[in-house]
Symmetry: C2
Subunit: 133 residues, 2 copies
């Protein structure tokens, strides 16, 4: 599985980039995942691939538990979806799905750290591997 996490934000704090890098490293054995920072919506639109399954992270739609995110990742693996773009930031775009990782508005860098951690947690759940709460 290929994940690209697009973060629309002028600045991402260094400690969030470090958190993301740590989960990227841990996720290496499960999938390919990459953070792509873009400055604004037009830069985002230039980067997005038509072929990718598009997910927008929002604070107002379906709320996901860690278990239901794991189920989603597993179902993508079973279907033909192998390339997933997840978009964080204050932009409007067409997408196949919307995830809500929190009912709260969050700093985009922090939201990226949460998303990476949840994808890592999802793979641990799928593989029946322990992960502290």
């Amino acid at each position: 599985m290929n994940f690209k996490v697009y973060v629309v934000s002028k600045k991402i704090e260094k400690f969030y980039l470090e958190a993301v890098a740590e989960y990227e490293k841990r996720l290496g054995r499960y999938c390919k995942i990459e953070l792509v920072q873009v400055k604004n919506e037009s830069a985002l639109l230039k980067k997005l691939s038509d072929k990718s399954y598009m997910v927008k992270i929002s604070s107002s739609r379906e709320k996901l538990s860690s278990e239901s995110l794991a189920e989603k990742i597993e179902s993508y693996g079973l279907s033909s979806v192998s390339d997933i773009s997840l978009v964080i930031g204050d932009v409007e775009l067409e997408c196949q799905e919307r995830f809500c990782i929190s009912p709260m508005d969050m700093d985009p860098g922090l939201e990226a750290a949460v998303l990476f951690e949840q994808i890592y947690r999802g793979y641990r759940i799928i593989n029946g591997e322990p992960y502290h709460k």
Copy 2:
């Protein structure tokens, strides 16, 4: 207002401590807030003050938006509540209130970063100050 954020966890990643320190610094003009890491439940119980208003962070109760957290902080300020303990971690304890900052299970250090960021966001909202989404 005095906040103590107790995190029951053997380890908190360095980047989360840096995130927390950054929000602690930014929050300096609004309140006193401090992270207290404890290794386990018995260490927590020794640290907790009877006089403090106790809030447990959980993944299953009332889900808060950033605006409703701001309203809560404001209402504490208007009532006699000036000392608040927020507890993160897999422990059972009596409390006055439970907050859910996400329906997902999260690394306790990450949960602390989210909570600090949300309290900072809450004060920005209360004071009508701008804060990017």
